[in-house]
Symmetry: D3
Subunit: 247 residues, 6 copies
């Protein structure tokens, strides 16, 4: 039995509130158990210098935590004057994951900024950020579709993420912080709506793992992501029909 | 008539939600119209180096805005690697204001960190931060009172803040962003529950102002702050009796 | 009686030496008691990016102290690699104050840089900086008038600043460091030659203050600033007739 | 056929030169094809603050590239004043991977610094760094064994890393730069001498991948790592018998 | 004939004003022609970490220019957030030069901070800084001698510096800015009162120079430094008898 | 007798390996005794902003040490976030020295970047860098000559550097680290192939030196540099005939 009484293959309760911040083109508050992240999508009519003149768009992500999102207060990265390695790693992951389902050609010379700000943390903040940022991005592009008279969104597939791991020798889905901090193996999985892998990042710093364990973890992840995508489809019901097509 | 149909001496709707973040000793979401700030109070059992060994506590504040709290996206100060002058000025103001109503001797060698994170901005974010941070701080110290068996809180008086200004030659209370950006004179006032001034910061960059106008603005501010303190007393009803006494 | 035998409403001796630095378009050494500040005005034929293409000019200020301007040596901000909040706050104040009396339209697409470097500090360095920078700026613009054949300077009014405060329950004008460090209330006032307020920044961190006290402080400040403006008019006698007009 | 005529499951030529830098406790030059990395291991008799007093050691890694290790010159991170996200991600990976095979308890309160400096880059620099750093670390700990009279090294197992990927729909082992830059899927694998996974990091930004493809890539990686470990055992023949045991 | 009518072996007018800044233990304004530098000496009762516990003192120097010390305004290094290579090079030179004539053993565990702030620049700011800092340092140590009842100052010899160079094929002493900027060879020389070299830094970036030219430059430098030391002895007449002895 | 059995006027063994890094236009590994530096020359088809539009080229240098190039590990400057004064001083010296023998007019609007990375340090790293960087630069420009059909290289003369010093009252050539760290006087000399001085930097922080000693040191330096230039001519035999001419 897990600390919060969940079965090993059970996600925490999910809640996605759209239009959470009035100024942003797209915004959600995503809650996965006690993990709460504000995700906003901002659309800018230009691309970074390395992308200019190619007629293609760009997706970029930033991630941060409020100082008191955690059990003990963290020093702000703005006060320290630099981003931690952890933050950089996470925002690179979010951006890469989201880009994998966007048709940058169809998007055109625009940048979508995805800001993921964790206001309360209880494990799985990076995967919640990906799952929430996808919704914010679709919503922002949906508004653009209306305005620009696009036939479809420049989105190839749905995308969501979750964590899996080995805790006390048991394979579990969607680790809360208390599980995560004692896990032997910790893995983040990002998948498309069609069940293809976009990212697999597993680490066994505490204890290396076998091929069989890896296979088990990937199956558990797939189950969780299927449920997350269903949830996304509910929230994005207006846009479901306009997502898909070749990259 | 003001853009949002308010009278010149009318505050925007106020909402203060306590216990908004589970990890913090004290936390609120304060909403003043469309301005929304998460304020947390974190208690640390030591003081900064310059205060050590005096048996006294310290109050310090940090302020930030989410990138998309505003109409157009702001670059994160953590990405820029430094705090702007505006941020520094605001967090110095919040800290100074809050310290003025705390009996640092009675607090003892502890630091209260007040984090004010604006998740949606529509004018008056610094004054909303002060008003909200006061509530978060009292709540955190209230829990400490229970734990430490203090007779009273080390809080001398209530404290709230609002803005006043001159817009189109008219004196107005609690400026929303659209008013603020076209104001001739802009003033932030911090007052105690007993109606004494703690901070008065008025600036007439666009147009200097007379003594009579200044007097009018201060009266308008006092009216607004009285209402904000009433609201604070409702929300902090458990602690009202334990606030007061000499510094 | 005050530590330096002044009456409560008496300024310290004032000395303004023009043309102090040969390279600058305008420069003064201003001495207010033992506080000594070198103020230079540099004119640049362009404006910062956010002002381009509007046909208007810009005024910006920087403030610093030599490490040994103070009783104990301060670490240089260039060595620390960042400006303190205090420095940022002061330079924002100086810039804002000076802009309030410049007709940016008439100035045209130019930037006036005002550098205020404290070589010896004894209280009131920010107000001495404003008072001295005004003189340096007028002098620099005077040279530009000759060169450009302007009829008038793009200066609307005179501008000076002083501090007032409450020390041992007494209202005093122009606080020296020893008074400032023990003041209950500390207020900086910036006024125009016509006696209008440009900035009022009062803080009662040690002890909040009443409306009556505030009124008294403002009157004291007005008296001091009238004297400072008289001094400025002496030093700027060549330009007095060319100052004034609508913004 | 691959650009350098290798079969899809063939590693590039490997060369490991020990004792490459005279000052370091352990050092190697590792060459994997045209990728060349200097790896040094430095032993310090203390641990970072967060590890103090636990009687355990710590392993930490730093990674850098010479500016002209690459086709076009890169700006130094020391000149830019900050580490890139890529660098941080890589040095976190190297440290985590190496720690997984060290018995920190047996190591005692020491830090092993692993410096991986790429002097020539042609793909796979992070995996070459891990494979080389393992050798440098064992060599440094071997000298410590002699000095301290340890019976065994505090090393649980061998450790090596390689990359695999999908290029033009074909699964390939040990990607050179030209392959890496056009790969649909890119994966780094770190394994122990006993064939357990320590890290699996696969990314399909260009094209998501199926379970079957993932399985194929993992097998290919295992084959490569087995060969790399054989090479390590040759070079570390003096210490092979002293490696192993429980963490 | 030189631009300012000097002979090739003639120094510019020298003026040294002692006790220029009231707070510092030692301070001078040194003027060499139009070059003006404020030099202060601050004594701190501790040494930097790398010197602790040796019973010896330390001398360290910092150098800066006011933004408008020069013909065109320079951006402050505090605003840029870092020191330029030129500044670092100069302050390392000043510190090294001054240390060469101090008996650090006799000084004891104290640090002398020498701050050299150029308020007006016209060539030779680094050599004026050394010459002026020596005076400020002696004055500060003189006061310490009185207080501590030392028999002698911990100063081994006088120390001054000047520049020499080749301009239009002619060897000249003490280059003003207009000469310096067109010199083929530029050399800074630091010498003791007894005529020994402490630093010789010559650079022929524009044109390499021969042994004969080098010899001529060194002689010219010696002549200038003899005159500077005479000037120092006048200003420091109270302490001349207490300077000297073995290091 | 010197620690490594050399005579006082004897250089350490020299080895210059060309084409050490495959990507760079020019590259060498230079070994002077146990000091080993990788020098690369990179050619960029533009010049820095301050040189634009003059039809002339630019030479710039960067210098760094691997953390474990030294006896004890050094913290990386990229981790510290800034370059040390020592590094800046050295890279300014290298750039200035190399520029003195390049005809920037004939080079045209190109920048040559010289990267000197010390992989093992045993004294004299800055002079080895200059000597090695010259070879890398000539090699890179040689390739450009072929490509552009230049008649001659834009190189006026050969250039090399060495250190001399006074150790235990004896004048010695090419100091190894153990000598350098106990030297009374330390001097770096850069000379052209024709025996003219480009840089002379001597410092007697530990003990000032006389004219006679200076003359002796310069002669010793000349002898060493003659030998270094002979070595350069061997390695650069293909280009010797194409070097020379007026600047």
């Amino acid at each position: 039995m897990r600390p919060d009484q969940r079965r090993s293959n059970e996600l925490r309760p999910i809640k996605i509130t759209k239009d959470y911040i009035k100024h942003a083109e797209g915004s959600v508050l995503i809650e996965i158990g006690d993990t709460k992240v504000i995700c906003t999508a901002s659309i800018e009519d230009k691309v970074p210098p390395f992308m200019r003149g190619q007629g293609k768009g760009w997706i970029t992500a930033e991630y941060s935590m409020l100082p008191r999102a955690t059990e003990t207060r963290n020093i702000r990265e703005s006060s320290k004057g630099k981003l931690s390695g952890r933050t950089m790693e996470i925002q690179r992951l979010i951006g890469r994951a989201l880009r994998s389902v966007v048709d940058l050609q169809r998007l055109g010379e625009k940048t979508v900024w995805l800001d993921c700000d964790v206001i309360q943390a209880d494990g799985g903040t990076r995967t919640a950020s990906i799952t929430g940022a996808f919704v914010a991005m679709v919503d922002a592009l949906g508004k653009l579709k209306e305005k620009n008279g696009w036939e479809k969104l420049p989105i190839i597939d749905f995308l969501a993420a979750t964590s899996v791991g080995i805790v006390n020798d048991e394979l579990v889905l969607d680790l809360a912080y208390v599980e995560d901090s004692s896990a032997e193996v910790d893995m983040n999985i990002v998948m498309t709506g069609k069940g293809q892998f976009v990212e697999v990042q597993g680490t066994g710093e505490e204890s290396p793992f076998s091929s069989e364990q890896l296979t088990g973890l990937l199956e558990l992840g797939k189950k969780g992501i299927d449920e997350l995508v269903s949830k996304q489809k509910e929230v994005l019901s207006d846009w479901v029909l306009f997502i898909g097509g070749e990259a």
